[in-house]
Point group: none
Chain length 401, copies 2
């Protein structure tokens, strides 16, 4: 029995409310030895007050030393073992452009490529064709028609686009057709298990028709297909935790990740302040609220320390509005660290705090990477965050007599 | 290989002695924000001296956020994965009245109930019949006679009693017969796996004879059967750790839990002080001593903060007598927290300390929830307590060359 199954067995009703604020990529690093991290540099009076009142700790997104992508990072926060539940590349790409992948779908990340008259690839990315040229070509591929299968083709960016096949009996276990080199033609699609044989036939038909439609294009006259995948078979928040869960995010990827675990995406916020407007509006209708703030991660990815500090301060400024709603449990955390120094996601533990009436406060005086080392939550893997939040919200019964 | 198997492989002989003092429900919560817990409020000069000398930490009974019952809580302390080894409800109930469940037994928690002339239940608890009325009825049911099966019926309290069937080929996988509502008859017993088919036949025979014996009773004229279970197949302390283990407890439940893992229950103490008398008496005869103190939990369950503080102080007062015996390793811990504020078991980590010559002392100055956060044992799951104690007692060899 894993921790999530255990929690599912122990879940109980309550009228409590849990808010999980995720400041994407929050954890950081000092630029110089002996310096402060972005979070430690920022002025965060509201988060510091919560740290004094609540319990802090160092959250390990996957396992020590492992740097997570956004998918596994969020799955862990949501309490799903990210090593057990994989989100396929195709599904993640589709999710990222707000395409809701359904149970009969296979999603595929496609690349436009260039081939010569012999059919051999000359450029695997179609000379990095600009989006304004590639998007109409992707849209055009919606003309492909395959019996008993719905085909959706959606542009992404430059040479990248998404194809979704919708129909009965389609498995997602198909090898990539990208040969990873030039001078050879794209590979034939090949089933990696019997349940995906039909997908291969559909993919071949799609490819044949698509290549005809693209014939004569100067750059994008062919395509490769990668990351075939189905919607992961994940139990929903309602099933596992018994909560009505709302997701509030600006970026499609995070809305999509929340949808994969059965959260309802609410509102159409374009900024953090608008996200809190939505939180206030839907407060009575849900038990659990996932609120995602993107820009701490974005500025970290940019390698812009000072800009990330400002984003942390913007994040801090909305805390009083959230606390005014009087959540039973407030969690502040992130899906991973994104130190500006590294300009990328990293493996470092994520500063995390929880506030509730019965959280057993620790001696932490501020919210920071350093202070969290003294925290009452200790070092813990992200999958324990949901059980802890549910316990604090009186939503878990006793295990055994 | 799990940790217990590893320990079993590495166990080695020694003449060291380990004492595990369990102050049930020891961990607590402050009543007010910024206040102190029960343990922090109590005057505990002896425990504080041990904290200074030893190594402390926060013990997580099952997994973060999970509140354990007494059964899983103690299994964890004893080093048995409480998610792997389940103690059935019937076995736990039998254990709680000092009935030693054997390998050919199926134990069942039964309720007296009231039925009308149509056989439909009118009260699932026989109008909460007082024990002085129900106990003789339960004893009377020992008249039931089933070929090739020994039947034991033992009163518990009010409408509750225990039935144990002893015989070959009895499985414990049978559904409850309590329909969980009135106006309908009890359910027929039903096997949930093939190995329990014979148990169903025995249960039917028991039920038929019992209902005849109860006919005409004003309240308790019928019964329901729940929590069918067998003795869990748990390796003994001797097998796993190679120690001769003694259990010293006042309450039957804890004696029973210790018996399930092969400890020998010694003495017949009625108080903590008498428990230590027993400890002194049997000191030369065993290698490991589990000493259980109940009242820290009881007063926590009562929601009586001050009374729990007094119990902690009583617990502290016996420490010098234990230390006079000069144990190689002393462990002070609990099966779970029972904060008076919640008047129930809780998920909070349990303050734990270990004293031995080679424990690598930390900077903890007192024994408390807050101080344990600085402890050298860090946050750790209860199943690691036994390996740590054995290592400190020079009872574990090296893993690998």
């Amino acid at each position: 029995m894993d921790i999530q199954q255990l929690v599912q067995n122990l879940k109980q009703e309550s009228d409590s409310k849990i808010v999980m604020l995720v400041a994407d990529g929050l954890g950081g690093l000092p630029l110089e030895p002996g310096g402060k991290t972005e979070l430690e540099t920022a002025s965060t009076p509201n988060l510091d007050a919560l740290a004094k009142k609540g319990i802090s700790g160092c959250q390990i997104p996957i396992k020590p030393g492992i740097t997570p992508g956004s998918g596994p990072g969020h799955l862990g926060l949501f309490g799903y073992d990210p090593l057990q539940h994989m989100i396929g590349r195709g599904v993640l790409e589709a999710t990222g452009i707000e395409f809701e992948v359904g149970p009969n779908d296979v999603a595929i990340r496609c690349n436009f490529c260039s081939i010569d008259s012999d059919g051999n690839i000359t450029d695997r990315r179609a000379e990095r064709i600009p989006t304004e040229e590639s998007a109409p070509l992707a849209e055009m591929l919606n003309q492909v028609s395959i019996p008993d299968v719905e085909v959706f083709v959606k542009p992404v960016k430059e040479h990248r686009f998404v194809v979704v096949f919708r129909g009965k009996g389609l498995g997602g276990n198909v090898a990539d057709t990208d040969p990873q080199k030039t001078g050879v033609p794209p590979l034939e699609p090949m089933a990696l298990s019997d349940d995906s044989q039909r997908t291969v036939e559909v993919a071949k038909q799609f490819y044949e028709q698509a290549v005809k439609l693209l014939a004569g294009q100067p750059k994008a006259n062919c395509l490769t297909m990668r990351g075939f995948s189905e919607k992961p078979n994940i139990p929903t928040y309602k099933e596992v935790y018994g909560v009505r869960a709302a997701a509030i995010a600006v970026y499609p990827m995070y809305k999509g990740l929340a949808q994969l675990v059965g959260m309802e995406v609410v509102g159409n916020a374009g900024s953090l302040s608008e996200e809190i407007d939505v939180l206030e509006e839907v407060w009575d209708d849900y038990d659990f609220f996932f609120v995602h703030f993107k820009y701490t991660d974005s500025r970290g990815e940019d390698g812009d320390f000072d800009a990330k500090v400002k984003m942390v301060e913007e994040f801090d400024s909305i805390i009083p509005r959230v606390m005014k709603l009087d959540p039973t449990v407030l969690v502040v955390t992130a899906d991973h660290s994104t130190p500006a120094k590294l300009a990328s996601h990293s493996w470092h533990p994520v500063p995390t705090l929880m506030v509730s009436d019965n959280c057993r406060t620790d001696a932490c005086e501020t919210f920071s990477e350093t202070e969290c080392l003294k925290g009452g939550l200790g070092h813990f893997e992200s999958i324990y965050l949901m059980p802890l939040a549910l316990a604090n919200a009186d939503r878990l019964g006793k295990y055994g007599a």
